[in-house]
Symmetry: C2
């Protein structure tokens, strides 16, 4: 198996997460080797949280797990793409299906919300 | 216009590039503020090359420009998603439509080429 190049990004690779059917991009996160191995073994997406500095099972708090369908590696071996089934409808902690819920036409106008909020984050995430 | 947070990544933000129709993820690149401004003004995707340490107009050598259709910003203001029309068929310097041309079923098997090569890189890129 060609190796993922974790060294280039100081132990981390960016991971693009895409809904496997619609191909909508849901979020971008990071994995270290441990997160990748846990993801492979469990079939559920695990990431490395740069703010909390530790392993993070996506959905551990919200129940919004991501079941991995397929993984892709880029030509430089330093970026991953996951196609997942997103449980609970939304990947974004702000209650949207995708973290990319604000759009700018051709990048020229302002950012405008272009998606519907699916859930109330306060009801899904405990206060920490 | 909400500001893109360039500070978090030392002046750079990752940019996910997606074909605007099929939603196929083509590549991941980086932008600094200058690249973003050039992209907005010209309608053609410009990036910051971390290896060459400078502005890079995608397609400047190959002619495979990317026309920007829509831009999206993520909930943390530190990652962009571009939907583009990819000229010349392929975004990858190795001759594939997408840089993510190797796939692993559920991330468990090896990486296998899952796409067709569209062009011969040696005929498109000059040797430098």
């Amino acid at each position: 198996m060609q190796k993922i190049d974790f060294a280039k990004g100081d132990g981390l690779v960016p991971v693009i997460v895409q809904y496997y059917r619609s191909r909508e991009v849901l979020m971008v996160a990071y994995m270290n080797r441990e997160a990748w191995e846990k993801t492979r073994k469990t079939g559920k997406a695990h990431y490395y949280s740069r703010s909390r500095k530790g392993l993070w099972l996506k959905g551990e708090e919200s129940g919004h797990y991501q079941e991995v369908k397929d993984a892709f590696i880029d030509c430089d071996n330093d970026t991953l793409l996951l196609q997942v089934r997103q449980l609970g409808g939304g990947a974004c902690h702000m209650g949207y299906r995708s973290c990319f819920f604000r759009k700018s036409k051709k990048g020229r106008g302002g950012w405008k919300v272009s998606a519907k909020r699916l859930f109330d984050p306060e009801k899904v995430y405990k206060k920490s």
